[in-house]
Protein backbone atom coordinates (compact mmCIF):
# COMPACT_ATOMS: atom_id res chain seq x y z
CA UNK A 1 0.00 0.00 0.00
CA UNK A 2 1.17 3.53 -0.68
CA UNK A 3 0.78 6.48 1.68
CA UNK A 4 -2.85 7.27 0.84
CA UNK A 5 -4.32 3.80 0.45
CA UNK A 6 -4.92 3.13 4.17
CA UNK A 7 -6.87 6.38 4.36
CA UNK A 8 -8.85 5.50 1.25
CA UNK A 9 -9.72 2.07 2.58
CA UNK A 10 -10.85 3.30 5.98
CA UNK A 11 -12.77 6.32 4.73
CA UNK A 12 -14.50 4.49 1.92
CA UNK A 13 -15.47 1.80 4.40
CA UNK A 14 -17.00 4.44 6.64
CA UNK A 15 -18.80 6.12 3.76
CA UNK A 16 -20.34 2.90 2.51
CA UNK A 17 -19.86 -0.14 4.75
CA UNK A 18 -20.11 -3.59 3.25
CA UNK A 19 -23.84 -4.40 3.20
CA UNK A 20 -25.17 -7.73 4.39
CA UNK A 21 -26.54 -10.26 1.94
CA UNK A 22 -30.18 -10.12 2.97
CA UNK A 23 -31.32 -8.79 -0.35
CA UNK A 24 -29.62 -11.57 -2.30
CA UNK A 25 -32.15 -13.51 -4.37
CA UNK A 26 -30.78 -15.91 -6.96
CA UNK A 27 -34.23 -16.99 -8.16
CA UNK A 28 -34.89 -13.36 -9.07
CA UNK A 29 -31.72 -13.40 -11.19
CA UNK A 30 -33.01 -16.46 -13.02
CA UNK A 31 -36.40 -14.86 -13.57
CA UNK A 32 -34.76 -11.75 -14.99
CA UNK A 33 -32.53 -13.89 -17.17
CA UNK A 34 -35.54 -15.78 -18.42
CA UNK A 35 -37.24 -12.55 -19.31
CA UNK A 36 -34.19 -11.48 -21.29
CA UNK A 37 -33.96 -14.83 -22.99
CA UNK A 38 -37.53 -14.62 -24.16
CA UNK A 39 -36.46 -11.75 -26.36
CA UNK A 40 -33.48 -13.51 -27.88
CA UNK A 41 -32.97 -16.86 -29.49
CA UNK A 42 -30.94 -19.40 -27.61
CA UNK A 43 -28.06 -20.96 -29.50
CA UNK A 44 -26.71 -24.44 -28.86
CA UNK A 45 -23.36 -24.48 -27.14
CA UNK A 46 -21.88 -27.26 -29.19
CA UNK A 47 -20.95 -27.51 -32.82
CA UNK A 48 -24.13 -28.63 -34.47
CA UNK A 49 -24.46 -31.49 -36.90
CA UNK A 50 -26.77 -31.59 -39.84
CA UNK A 51 -28.69 -34.82 -39.37
CA UNK A 52 -30.48 -33.99 -36.17
CA UNK A 53 -33.90 -34.10 -37.76
CA UNK A 54 -33.42 -37.68 -38.90
CA UNK A 55 -32.14 -38.84 -35.54
CA UNK A 56 -34.76 -37.13 -33.47
CA UNK A 57 -37.35 -39.24 -35.19
CA UNK A 58 -35.47 -42.40 -34.31
CA UNK A 59 -35.72 -41.50 -30.65
CA UNK A 60 -33.74 -43.11 -27.90
CA UNK A 61 -34.64 -46.76 -28.22
CA UNK A 62 -31.78 -47.97 -30.36
CA UNK A 63 -30.74 -51.45 -29.18
CA UNK A 64 -27.74 -50.96 -26.94
CA UNK A 65 -28.50 -47.49 -25.74
CA UNK A 66 -29.54 -44.11 -27.02
CA UNK A 67 -29.65 -42.61 -30.47
CA UNK A 68 -27.62 -39.70 -29.27
CA UNK A 69 -24.76 -42.11 -28.58
CA UNK A 70 -24.53 -43.54 -32.08
CA UNK A 71 -20.91 -44.22 -32.97
CA UNK A 72 -19.77 -43.85 -29.35
CA UNK A 73 -19.01 -47.34 -28.12
CA UNK A 74 -17.93 -46.18 -24.67
CA UNK A 75 -21.49 -45.07 -24.01
CA UNK A 76 -23.20 -48.08 -25.58
CA UNK A 77 -23.50 -50.24 -22.48
CA UNK A 78 -25.91 -50.72 -19.61
CA UNK A 79 -25.93 -48.09 -16.93
CA UNK A 80 -24.12 -48.91 -13.69
CA UNK A 81 -24.29 -47.13 -10.33
CA UNK A 82 -21.05 -45.33 -11.18
CA UNK A 83 -22.74 -43.73 -14.17
CA UNK A 84 -25.40 -41.98 -12.16
CA UNK A 85 -25.11 -38.23 -11.91
CA UNK A 86 -25.83 -36.42 -8.68
CA UNK A 87 -29.62 -35.80 -8.83
CA UNK A 88 -29.12 -32.29 -7.50
CA UNK A 89 -26.78 -31.47 -10.36
CA UNK A 90 -29.18 -33.00 -12.88
CA UNK A 91 -32.06 -30.98 -11.46
CA UNK A 92 -29.96 -27.84 -11.65
CA UNK A 93 -29.08 -28.47 -15.28
CA UNK A 94 -32.67 -29.22 -16.23
CA UNK A 95 -33.79 -26.06 -14.45
CA UNK A 96 -31.18 -24.10 -16.37
CA UNK A 97 -32.41 -25.64 -19.63
CA UNK A 98 -35.95 -24.60 -18.84
CA UNK A 99 -34.92 -21.07 -17.99
CA UNK A 100 -32.62 -20.71 -20.95
CA UNK A 101 -34.72 -22.62 -23.43
CA UNK A 102 -31.99 -25.17 -23.99
CA UNK A 103 -32.40 -28.70 -25.34
CA UNK A 104 -34.95 -31.14 -23.93
CA UNK A 105 -34.57 -32.46 -20.43
CA UNK A 106 -31.71 -34.81 -19.71
CA UNK A 107 -32.59 -38.48 -19.42
CA UNK A 108 -31.07 -39.62 -16.09
CA UNK A 109 -30.92 -43.29 -17.10
CA UNK A 110 -28.95 -42.37 -20.21
CA UNK A 111 -26.01 -40.99 -18.24
CA UNK A 112 -22.73 -42.82 -18.84
CA UNK A 113 -19.49 -42.03 -17.08
CA UNK A 114 -17.03 -42.09 -19.95
CA UNK A 115 -13.87 -40.77 -18.32
CA UNK A 116 -12.51 -40.23 -14.84
CA UNK A 117 -9.94 -37.46 -14.57
CA UNK A 118 -8.00 -36.71 -11.43
CA UNK A 119 -10.34 -33.89 -10.57
CA UNK A 120 -13.35 -34.33 -12.81
CA UNK A 121 -15.80 -36.85 -14.20
CA UNK A 122 -16.98 -36.73 -17.78
CA UNK A 123 -20.41 -38.06 -18.67
CA UNK A 124 -22.35 -38.55 -21.88
CA UNK A 125 -26.05 -37.88 -21.46
CA UNK A 126 -28.91 -37.95 -23.93
CA UNK A 127 -31.78 -35.51 -23.90
CA UNK A 128 -35.42 -36.24 -24.53
CA UNK A 129 -35.19 -34.57 -27.91
CA UNK A 130 -32.29 -36.75 -29.01
CA UNK A 131 -29.36 -34.42 -28.40
CA UNK A 132 -26.01 -35.49 -27.10
CA UNK A 133 -24.81 -33.66 -24.00
CA UNK A 134 -21.35 -33.94 -22.53
CA UNK A 135 -20.99 -33.01 -18.91
CA UNK A 136 -17.76 -32.41 -17.01
CA UNK A 137 -18.34 -32.29 -13.28
CA UNK A 138 -15.37 -31.06 -11.31
CA UNK A 139 -14.64 -32.52 -7.93
CA UNK A 140 -13.72 -30.33 -5.03
CA UNK A 141 -10.66 -31.64 -3.23
CA UNK A 142 -11.49 -35.04 -4.63
CA UNK A 143 -14.07 -35.53 -1.91
CA UNK A 144 -16.70 -36.84 -4.28
CA UNK A 145 -18.76 -33.68 -4.27
CA UNK A 146 -19.01 -31.50 -7.33
CA UNK A 147 -18.04 -27.88 -6.94
CA UNK A 148 -18.54 -26.85 -10.54
CA UNK A 149 -19.63 -28.28 -13.83
CA UNK A 150 -19.53 -27.43 -17.48
CA UNK A 151 -21.75 -28.84 -20.16
CA UNK A 152 -22.38 -28.65 -23.86
CA UNK A 153 -25.21 -30.12 -25.91
CA UNK A 154 -25.69 -30.56 -29.60
CA UNK A 155 -26.77 -32.94 -32.30
CA UNK A 156 -25.38 -36.50 -32.34
CA UNK A 157 -21.92 -36.90 -33.81
CA UNK A 158 -21.41 -37.41 -37.52
CA UNK A 159 -18.48 -37.97 -39.83
CA UNK A 160 -18.31 -34.23 -40.52
CA UNK A 161 -18.79 -33.33 -36.84
CA UNK A 162 -16.94 -36.23 -35.22
CA UNK A 163 -16.14 -34.62 -31.87
CA UNK A 164 -17.65 -32.36 -29.29
CA UNK A 165 -15.48 -29.77 -27.62
CA UNK A 166 -15.92 -27.58 -24.61
CA UNK A 167 -13.68 -25.78 -22.18
CA UNK A 168 -14.25 -24.99 -18.58
CA UNK A 169 -12.14 -22.48 -16.67
CA UNK A 170 -13.30 -21.42 -13.26
CA UNK A 171 -10.63 -18.88 -12.45
CA UNK A 172 -7.02 -17.98 -13.05
CA UNK A 173 -5.68 -20.12 -10.26
CA UNK A 174 -6.79 -23.39 -11.81
CA UNK A 175 -5.99 -24.58 -15.32
CA UNK A 176 -8.78 -24.92 -17.84
CA UNK A 177 -10.22 -28.34 -18.54
CA UNK A 178 -11.08 -29.00 -22.17
CA UNK A 179 -12.85 -32.16 -23.18
CA UNK A 180 -14.87 -33.85 -25.84
CA UNK A 181 -16.45 -37.09 -26.97
CA UNK A 182 -15.65 -38.49 -30.38
CA UNK A 183 -16.81 -41.12 -32.79
CA UNK A 184 -15.10 -44.52 -32.51
CA UNK A 185 -13.07 -43.76 -35.62
CA UNK A 186 -11.25 -40.77 -34.10
CA UNK A 187 -7.85 -41.43 -32.57
CA UNK A 188 -6.77 -37.91 -31.58
CA UNK A 189 -7.76 -34.28 -31.76
CA UNK A 190 -5.58 -31.21 -32.07
CA UNK A 191 -6.11 -27.54 -31.46
CA UNK A 192 -4.21 -24.37 -30.58
CA UNK A 193 -3.69 -23.68 -26.88
CA UNK A 194 -1.17 -21.49 -25.12
CA UNK A 195 0.36 -20.41 -28.40
CA UNK A 196 1.14 -23.83 -29.79
CA UNK A 197 -0.66 -26.79 -31.29
CA UNK A 198 -1.74 -29.42 -28.84
CA UNK A 199 -2.58 -32.96 -29.90
CA UNK A 200 -4.56 -35.03 -27.45
CA UNK A 201 -5.15 -38.76 -27.85
CA UNK A 202 -8.64 -40.15 -27.71
CA UNK A 203 -9.22 -42.99 -25.28
CA UNK A 204 -12.55 -44.76 -25.19
CA UNK A 205 -14.15 -42.03 -27.24
CA UNK A 206 -13.00 -39.26 -24.94
CA UNK A 207 -10.25 -36.70 -25.09
CA UNK A 208 -9.45 -34.43 -22.18
CA UNK A 209 -6.84 -31.76 -21.77
CA UNK A 210 -5.90 -29.78 -18.72
CA UNK A 211 -3.93 -26.63 -19.41
CA UNK A 212 -4.30 -23.40 -21.31
CA UNK A 213 -7.73 -22.93 -22.84
CA UNK A 214 -7.90 -23.48 -26.61
CA UNK A 215 -7.48 -20.17 -28.35
CA UNK A 216 -8.56 -20.85 -31.90
CA UNK A 217 -12.10 -21.69 -32.77
CA UNK A 218 -11.24 -24.87 -34.61
CA UNK A 219 -10.49 -28.44 -33.68
CA UNK A 220 -9.02 -31.09 -35.96
CA UNK A 221 -10.08 -34.69 -35.57
CA UNK A 222 -7.61 -37.36 -36.68
CA UNK A 223 -9.16 -40.60 -37.94
CA UNK A 224 -7.79 -44.14 -37.84
CA UNK A 225 -7.35 -44.13 -41.62
CA UNK A 226 -5.05 -41.11 -41.44
CA UNK A 227 -7.57 -38.59 -42.68
CA UNK A 228 -8.55 -35.49 -40.74
CA UNK A 229 -11.61 -33.34 -40.32
CA UNK A 230 -11.46 -29.78 -39.08
CA UNK A 231 -14.45 -28.54 -37.13
CA UNK A 232 -15.21 -25.00 -36.20
Amino acid sequence: MNDVEPLIVSELERLLPLPDGRRADWSDVLRRGDFMRARRRWRPVLVTAVIVAALVGVGVAIAAGFGAFNGISAAQRPQTPADKIDPKLLAEINAAFEVRGGPGRLIPRSARLVRRLSNARIYAVATKDGQLCVLAARLLNNNGKFDAAGMGCGSPLTQSEPSTAATFARDESSPAISWGITLDSVTAVSFMAGGHEVTVPVENNVWAYEGAAPTHGTLTAHFKDGSTETIG
Binding site: L16, M36, A96, G152
Partner: protein
Protein backbone atom coordinates in the same frame (compact mmCIF):
# COMPACT_ATOMS: atom_id res chain seq x y z
CA UNK B 1 -15.33 -25.34 -31.18
CA UNK B 2 -17.89 -25.03 -28.49
CA UNK B 3 -17.86 -22.14 -26.14
CA UNK B 4 -17.21 -22.43 -22.47
CA UNK B 5 -20.31 -22.83 -20.44
CA UNK B 6 -19.84 -21.91 -16.81
CA UNK B 7 -22.93 -23.64 -15.52
CA UNK B 8 -25.45 -21.93 -13.36
CA UNK B 9 -23.68 -23.33 -10.31
CA UNK B 10 -20.61 -21.24 -10.96
CA UNK B 11 -22.50 -18.02 -11.39
CA UNK B 12 -24.66 -18.85 -8.42
CA UNK B 13 -21.61 -19.56 -6.28
CA UNK B 14 -20.14 -16.23 -7.29
CA UNK B 15 -23.42 -14.47 -6.62
CA UNK B 16 -23.88 -16.00 -3.19
CA UNK B 17 -20.27 -15.55 -2.20
CA UNK B 18 -19.75 -12.00 -3.41
CA UNK B 19 -23.19 -10.44 -3.46
CA UNK B 20 -22.39 -7.84 -0.75
CA UNK B 21 -19.36 -6.64 -2.70
CA UNK B 22 -21.31 -6.41 -5.94
CA UNK B 23 -24.06 -4.58 -4.09
CA UNK B 24 -21.64 -2.12 -2.52
CA UNK B 25 -20.01 -1.18 -5.82
CA UNK B 26 -23.34 -0.95 -7.63
CA UNK B 27 -24.74 1.19 -4.83
CA UNK B 28 -21.75 3.50 -5.02
CA UNK B 29 -22.26 3.88 -8.77
CA UNK B 30 -26.04 4.18 -8.86
CA UNK B 31 -26.63 6.12 -5.68
CA UNK B 32 -28.80 4.03 -3.38
CA UNK B 33 -28.96 0.45 -2.22
CA UNK B 34 -32.29 -0.46 -3.80
CA UNK B 35 -31.13 0.68 -7.22
CA UNK B 36 -27.76 -0.95 -6.61
CA UNK B 37 -29.51 -4.26 -5.89
CA UNK B 38 -31.48 -3.90 -9.11
CA UNK B 39 -28.27 -3.34 -11.03
CA UNK B 40 -26.65 -6.42 -9.49
CA UNK B 41 -29.68 -8.54 -10.35
CA UNK B 42 -29.76 -7.24 -13.90
CA UNK B 43 -26.02 -7.68 -14.29
CA UNK B 44 -26.09 -11.29 -13.14
CA UNK B 45 -29.17 -11.99 -15.26
CA UNK B 46 -27.27 -10.64 -18.24
CA UNK B 47 -24.25 -12.79 -17.37
CA UNK B 48 -26.53 -15.80 -16.99
CA UNK B 49 -28.09 -15.22 -20.36
CA UNK B 50 -24.76 -14.52 -22.07
CA UNK B 51 -22.73 -17.22 -20.35
CA UNK B 52 -22.05 -18.95 -23.65
CA UNK B 53 -19.96 -15.98 -24.67
CA UNK B 54 -17.63 -16.42 -21.70
CA UNK B 55 -14.60 -18.11 -23.21
CA UNK B 56 -12.56 -18.72 -20.10
CA UNK B 57 -9.72 -16.46 -21.19
CA UNK B 58 -9.92 -14.56 -17.91
CA UNK B 59 -11.55 -14.99 -14.54
CA UNK B 60 -15.30 -15.53 -14.54
CA UNK B 61 -15.64 -12.99 -11.75
CA UNK B 62 -14.04 -10.19 -13.76
CA UNK B 63 -16.34 -10.98 -16.67
CA UNK B 64 -19.37 -10.74 -14.39
CA UNK B 65 -18.10 -7.52 -12.85
CA UNK B 66 -18.16 -5.99 -16.30
CA UNK B 67 -21.83 -6.82 -16.76
CA UNK B 68 -22.73 -5.58 -13.29
CA UNK B 69 -20.79 -2.33 -13.68
CA UNK B 70 -22.44 -1.76 -17.06
CA UNK B 71 -25.86 -2.43 -15.55
CA UNK B 72 -25.10 0.04 -12.76
CA UNK B 73 -23.86 2.69 -15.20
CA UNK B 74 -27.03 2.25 -17.27
CA UNK B 75 -29.14 2.67 -14.14
CA UNK B 76 -27.18 5.77 -13.23
CA UNK B 77 -27.75 7.23 -16.66
CA UNK B 78 -31.46 6.69 -16.20
CA UNK B 79 -31.26 8.48 -12.85
CA UNK B 80 -29.31 11.30 -14.38
CA UNK B 81 -32.03 11.69 -16.98
CA UNK B 82 -34.39 12.18 -14.07
CA UNK B 83 -32.01 14.85 -12.74
CA UNK B 84 -31.05 12.93 -9.60
CA UNK B 85 -27.56 13.12 -8.13
CA UNK B 86 -26.41 9.55 -7.55
CA UNK B 87 -23.07 10.03 -5.82
CA UNK B 88 -24.50 12.50 -3.35
CA UNK B 89 -27.29 10.13 -2.41
CA UNK B 90 -25.25 7.52 -0.61
CA UNK B 91 -22.61 9.89 0.67
CA UNK B 92 -25.25 11.99 2.33
CA UNK B 93 -26.17 8.94 4.37
CA UNK B 94 -22.72 8.74 5.89
CA UNK B 95 -22.25 10.35 9.26
CA UNK B 96 -21.40 14.01 9.68
CA UNK B 97 -17.68 13.50 9.83
CA UNK B 98 -17.74 12.00 6.39
CA UNK B 99 -19.12 15.20 5.00
CA UNK B 100 -15.85 16.87 5.90
CA UNK B 101 -13.75 14.00 4.67
CA UNK B 102 -11.06 14.68 2.15
CA UNK B 103 -11.89 11.30 0.67
CA UNK B 104 -15.51 12.30 0.11
CA UNK B 105 -14.41 15.43 -1.72
CA UNK B 106 -11.90 13.41 -3.64
CA UNK B 107 -14.33 10.69 -4.75
CA UNK B 108 -16.90 13.22 -5.87
CA UNK B 109 -14.33 15.05 -7.99
CA UNK B 110 -12.83 12.02 -9.71
CA UNK B 111 -13.41 11.44 -13.43
CA UNK B 112 -15.67 8.45 -14.02
CA UNK B 113 -13.02 5.91 -14.98
CA UNK B 114 -10.93 6.78 -11.93
CA UNK B 115 -13.95 6.54 -9.68
CA UNK B 116 -14.91 3.13 -11.07
CA UNK B 117 -11.36 1.88 -10.66
CA UNK B 118 -11.36 3.11 -7.06
CA UNK B 119 -14.65 1.36 -6.32
CA UNK B 120 -13.46 -1.90 -7.86
CA UNK B 121 -10.12 -1.71 -6.11
CA UNK B 122 -11.24 -0.73 -2.64
CA UNK B 123 -14.88 -1.81 -2.44
CA UNK B 124 -14.59 -5.05 -4.42
CA UNK B 125 -10.97 -5.79 -3.55
CA UNK B 126 -10.12 -6.69 -7.15
CA UNK B 127 -6.57 -6.84 -8.40
CA UNK B 128 -5.41 -4.71 -11.32
CA UNK B 129 -5.93 -7.41 -13.89
CA UNK B 130 -9.49 -8.08 -12.82
CA UNK B 131 -10.22 -4.36 -12.82
CA UNK B 132 -8.80 -4.15 -16.33
CA UNK B 133 -11.11 -6.97 -17.45
CA UNK B 134 -14.09 -5.40 -15.74
CA UNK B 135 -13.49 -1.98 -17.28
CA UNK B 136 -12.28 -3.37 -20.60
CA UNK B 137 -8.96 -1.54 -20.48
CA UNK B 138 -5.31 -2.56 -20.30
CA UNK B 139 -3.74 -3.40 -16.96
CA UNK B 140 -1.32 -0.52 -17.41
CA UNK B 141 -4.25 1.83 -17.79
CA UNK B 142 -5.63 0.67 -14.46
CA UNK B 143 -2.29 1.30 -12.81
CA UNK B 144 -2.05 4.78 -14.31
CA UNK B 145 -5.68 5.53 -13.48
CA UNK B 146 -5.30 4.60 -9.82
CA UNK B 147 -2.02 6.44 -9.61
CA UNK B 148 -3.73 9.58 -10.92
CA UNK B 149 -6.52 9.07 -8.43
CA UNK B 150 -4.04 8.80 -5.57
CA UNK B 151 -2.34 11.98 -6.72
CA UNK B 152 -5.69 13.73 -6.79
CA UNK B 153 -6.38 12.61 -3.24
CA UNK B 154 -3.07 13.99 -2.03
CA UNK B 155 -4.01 17.33 -3.57
CA UNK B 156 -7.50 17.15 -2.08
CA UNK B 157 -6.05 16.45 1.38
CA UNK B 158 -3.78 19.47 1.16
CA UNK B 159 -6.72 21.66 0.19
CA UNK B 160 -8.81 20.41 3.14
CA UNK B 161 -5.89 20.97 5.53
CA UNK B 162 -5.54 24.53 4.30
Amino acid sequence: MAQTWPLTGDLEDLYRGRYPHFLRVATAIVGDEASGHDAVQDGFAQAFREQQSFRGEGPLEAWVWRTVVNAALAARRRRAARREAPEAAWMAKANGRADESAVRTWVAALPERQRLAVYLRYYADLDYRAIAEALDVEVGTVSATLSSAHQALRRSMKEVEQ
